[in-house]
Structure formats: C-alpha cells, structure tokens
Symmetry: C2
Subunit: 203 residues, 2 copies
C-alpha cells in the first residue's frame, strides 16, 4: 500500500468530517490540511481545488447512502411493506449520520449554478417504480390518495425534516442526545402508520 493513498484518504476523511460539521463555506483548506496532519499544498496536489474535493465527497456520501434506499423503492414489494421498510432504513441511515440532512440542504440551496450535484441527488430518488405502483393501486381502488409526488414528498418530509431541526427540538424540549434518539426511534413506527392510514380506504 503506497503512502500516497493514505494521504489522499486522510485529506478526504478530514474534509468530509469538517464539511458535514461546519458546512463547506465555513471550512477552509488550511483547516482541512491541519486536521489531516498534512501540508496545505498536498490538498491541491491530490484534489485540484476545494470545490473539486467537495464534489468527490458529496458524490461519495450520496452514493454510499442511497443504494439501499433505491433498491427498496425499485423492488416489487407490496406498497405498505415498501413504505415501512423505506422509512425504517432511511431513518436508521440518518440516525447514524444526522448531519447529512443539513449538508444536503445547504447544497440544494446554493445549487442554482452548479447542476452537477443536483443530478446526483435526483438519482437518489428514482421513483418510477414507486410511482407506477401508486397509480396502479389507485386504479384498483386499493388506496384513497393517488398523487405519487405528494405521497413521496409527505414521506420524505416526515423522515428528514426532524433531523434538520434537531437542535431546535432538543432545545425546545430539553432533550438529551439520547432522548432525541428515542424521539426519532418512535418515528420509525409512527411515520409508516401515518402514511398508511392516509392511504388505506375506509372499510
């Protein structure tokens, strides 16, 4: 194993941590170099620029975390079971990396210029199969609401938003980190219930 690979990885890891923690704009390349324990110039030797480094990290994060979600969405699982699994896996993923929501959010905010990353995020939500499934169940009269986009946005909102306002929830309720964790854990049951109830037709 060459030493170069180690250095590149050290830069990559340090930058990932800092970008997630403080945001890209508030992280300087000097800070990254310091945290990685390497010289500033090496930053530009391995990655051409800060922006380029950011691009690599962002792609990695999305790819790493989206694979399983896409697999669930694209499967031919029964609709309600699919919702249960999707919510569960998504929440587990965000629980392990709670900063991801804010990070993606901030990218989304500044990405009217740079479309590249948007494409990556969009790929996260390959909803074709899910959409077909909703429309199909709708036609059969098995569900009560049939707008796929609305349903998907409901689901995403209920899953992700609480992580974006984590500090607010903690502050407002005097939660410890653990209590916030329990709060989120409850939502793993709650969100599928809410969604399925909103779809299930009256008996």
């Amino acid at each position: 194993m060459s030493k170069s690979k180690n250095t590149e990885q050290k830069i990559f890891d340090a930058a990932t941590e800092l970008f997630l923690e403080k945001g890209v704009d508030r992280t300087s390349v000097r800070e990254i170099a310091a945290k990685a324990g390497i010289n500033l110039a090496l930053m530009n030797y391995y990655f051409r620029s800060k922006e380029n480094l950011f691009g690599s990290i962002f792609s990695m994060l999305v790819q790493k975390n989206s694979e399983e979600l896409i697999r669930i969405l694209d499967s031919d699982m029964e609709l309600f079971e699919k919702i249960r699994q999707y919510v569960g896996v998504y929440i587990d993923m965000l629980s392990e990396n709670p900063l991801l929501v804010s990070f993606v959010m901030s990218i989304l905010h500044r990405s009217r210029e740079r479309i590249t990353e948007m494409k990556v995020i969009s790929s996260l939500y390959s909803t074709d199969q899910f959409t077909r499934q909703i429309l199909d169940e709708g036609k059969k009269g098995n569900i009560r609401r049939t707008d796929p986009t609305q349903i998907f946005v409901d689901m995403l909102s209920l899953i992700a938003f609480p992580f974006a306002i984590k500090m607010l929830v903690i502050d407002k309720n005097n939660f410890t980190e653990e209590e916030f964790g329990e709060f989120i854990l409850e939502r793993k049951k709650r969100i599928p219930e809410l969604l399925i109830e909103s779809l299930r037709p009256p008996r």
Copy 2:
C-alpha cells in the same frame, strides 16, 4: 425624512435579498454595498459588522413572519380548526417567501456556537397552549395520538420541508414555477386532512 434612514434601509434591503438568495456566507459586504448603490464604508458605519447586520435581518424576518403563527397557536380555537388555520397561514407565508426555509435551515446548521438566533427561532414555536390542548383532548379520548412534540414536528415537517427541496421537486417532475405553486396549494388542504385523520379516533 433624513437621508440617512434611506441609506440604512437600502443596505438592509439589499443584504436581506442577497442573504436569502445566496446565503450569508456566500454574500460579501462589497456585494451588498454594490447592490445598495452605496459605499463600502457605510456598511460599517450603520451596522458594525456583517455578522451584526445579519443578526438584525434575521430577527426582523423571524418577527415579521412569526407573529400571526404564534397568535393562532396561542388562541383557544378548537384543535382541528387551529391546525387548519396554522397550516394555511404558514404555507401562505412560505409561498410568499420560499427562500425562508433554506435560510433558517442554514442558520440552524451553523448555530451551535451562536445561541442568540436559536432563541429567536424558539420563540417562533411557543407551543405551550397547543401542547396543553393536545394533552387535554387526549385525556378526554377525543384524539388517538397524544404526543404533542411528535404531532407538532409532523406538522412542521409537512409544511416546511417541501420548500427546502423545492428545486428537487421542480427538477424531478419537470414542474414550472406555477406548477410548483399549485403543488404547494394542494398541500394546504392535504396536510390538515392527513394530520386530522391521524388524530381522529375511529368511530
């Protein structure tokens, strides 16, 4: 009317627009001065620093937009009607200023150091009366779910998150701005329905 008041206001307005559009960190003071059509030095004459200017703007935005929401939440309106009104007013407000969610989100992300602004946001959500109401209705067996924090987070998530991922929704569905507006308009009916259905006990 003194000319100074005009200048201060011009700086304030230009900065507000830029902060909302590009985020605080990606907006330079030179840019603000240029947009306001004034000299750079005046920026520091009226507001001591960029950070200070940001503080003023942030407080203004929160205060301006939270008053009516707090009034609704604190009123003794019947619970379901309160939910309908809160959702409606909140969505109208965000529709008029869609960038507000991303803006607040980014502040939340970088505010582990500066608690000042958190306090302002927290005041936005004075949920005491709402909480009491939920617990009360719960005791009477009038509602099926009784965790006030969960209910409030559900509501906020369904209202605000779609604005944070606006560009994604537009991109994914090939929406025009108008179509996104209609999409959001539908949610003014949809969200209260979802929430109330999730609370209403089975007959």
